[in-house]
Symmetry: C2
Subunit: 337 residues, 2 copies
């Protein structure tokens, strides 16, 4: 039942490596900053923060900030703290998400809330968000503070939207897109936007980087949602079917529901809305997704946004930075092997 996407494996595997190599030196400083800024006399804070931060996310978002700053010819020091702030905002969101979703696992490890309780997850998330803003203030760019503070509210709005739409099988593709734009893509967009912003580049370049990040983020989340029904569990650190068990309405479900028969829709309603799970439900869901090509078309949609991300960078001259950012698009979509 694995999802197989016809895609040039080599390019997708090398994609993030090129980016990683380009930003390697700066990423070292970002990682040092992250470590230093999770410090607190209150012992539980570094414990919880390090549990999550050391559990090996790809650090994709801070890499995007560094690369967007590089693309913009930035020569200052602010991009390091901004990248660390972006990662802290992401980490805070993960901590709060786990409480909201009542998740047991995160990145292949027990979720922080399982080890320290919901309380610690809420409060350490708040601490990291506070530290993110402190770092932005230290950089001193009100324009960057504007971008990232707007992102913080939009992300929260997206999460609440998702909550309101939860377990509603009638959710439209547009409503689903509005949620993932806000809860995921907005931070990708902001992460990219602060690069040219801190470099005080012209508006057109700032908007191009923002558009690149926004579309990349949408593609990223679409692939994530497809992988939840067919990815390799170990790599993602979560199990196939987690979204299904939580009654999350993602695009594979939206497409299967809308393309399905009346009896199939009754199945989706029972399984996702009424929370009456039965033996074999996940297998049935996967079979229906295969029948309606829901996973393949979710990836196809991701390709569409990937293409938009690539075109957004069209106004920039060729450079190693631009090449790395273009490759990152391939990486995000190529994960769906």
């Amino acid at each position: 039942m694995g999802l197989v996407i016809p895609f040039d494996e080599k390019s997708s595997e090398s994609g993030l490596e090129r980016l990683a190599a380009l930003v390697a030196q700066d990423m070292n400083r970002v990682n040092q900053t992250i470590l230093a800024r999770t410090g607190s006399d209150v012992a539980m804070i570094p414990e919880v923060a390090k549990h999550l931060i050391s559990s090996g996310g790809k650090r994709l978002r801070p890499m995007l900030t560094l690369a967007a700053a590089g693309l913009s010819g930035y020569r200052g020091e602010g991009h390091v703290k901004l990248a660390a702030a972006v990662e802290f905002m992401h980490t805070a969101t993960l901590l709060h998400d786990d409480v909201v979703d009542q998740s047991d696992m995160r990145r292949g490890k027990l979720a922080a809330r399982m080890l320290w309780g919901n309380e610690a997850s809420v409060l350490v998330g708040d601490f990291l968000l506070g530290q993110a803003f402190r770092m932005m203030v230290e950089v001193g760019s009100l324009a960057c503070l504007d971008v990232l503070s707007v992102a913080a509210t939009v992300i929260a709005e997206g999460e609440v939207m998702q909550l309101s739409a939860a377990k509603d099988t009638q959710t439209t593709e547009d409503a689903y897109l509005a949620v993932i734009r806000a809860k995921t893509a907005e931070l990708f967009a902001a992460a990219c936007e602060v690069g040219p912003t801190v470099a005080t580049r012209p508006k057109a370049e700032i908007e191009a980087c923002r558009a690149y990040g926004m579309n990349l983020g949408i593609a990223f989340q679409l692939i994530d949602d497809a992988l939840d029904y067919g990815g390799q569990s170990a790599k993602l650190g979560k199990n196939v079917g987690d979204d299904f068990r939580e009654g999350k309405i993602t695009l594979p479900v939206v497409l299967s529901f809308r393309r399905g028969s009346e009896s199939e829709r009754a199945f989706w309603k029972r399984a996702l809305e009424e929370g009456q799970s039965a033996e074999g439900d996940l297998e049935n869901a996967l079979a229906l997704m295969k029948k309606h090509r829901a996973l393949e078309d979710t990836v196809e949609r991701a390709r569409h946004y990937g293409a938009m991300a690539r075109d957004a960078l069209g106004i920039f001259n060729d450079s190693p930075w631009k090449k790395a950012l273009l490759d990152a698009v391939d990486f995000c979509i190529g994960r769906a092997h």
Copy 2:
């Protein structure tokens, strides 16, 4: 068993009225800002936010920001958004606190988490925090952003500290003070500090306002903790003994434990640490507090910090603003009737 403090009732009742009258016009604008900034296309956000915001807190913190700006001769417009940001930070903390404490009630109404769930409380709190930072960015004072972003992290640290110290009857008075400085007094201090900061007053005045707020905040929390064992339930919107039932170690407990016999300490340990509650436990706790004058001396400690708050304002010339801020100290302590 009610707590009776020998205090001039008239001055304590008029205390907040003088302050309220002085800032009335600005507070109208703060309230309009608060209302406008809880707006969102995501319907649940204004619902949850308005439930809490309209439930009638005293708005003490934003009043302090306005008064500190008045004391500093500030002539601009930034103080209104800063005051609204301070109230949003406070509201976000309340929403997250209720999840952490698993509280049923808040300000005499059902806690938001009881009506919309923990998820909404976490996420709407995040939204309000994001909006708070957006408003600060709009004011454009990096110095104020610095003060309030530091406060955001310190408050979260204080909450985690409280979590770590929870149910530990060996908690010292100093450890308790460190918690309430961080979780409560820091926001009072920041609320007062941004007044002279946005007015770009000299460092001595900024520090004086900060010290006033810090000591006022400590006094405020001490009285709150005393009232939990003897206040009028309706006024506070919570029930006598809530802290006791949650196993919170506040100063009345710290003093009773340290002044008590071995058998009394065994009682506190059983009731607060081991969570084995028995019929009559609260009555017994109240009797022990009376025996050891724990509530009276908690109020006495509050008076000490109140006196420090008053003296901190000594460098300012007499003015209606100064008089109102001095009266606010009387109000905070005079609540303990």
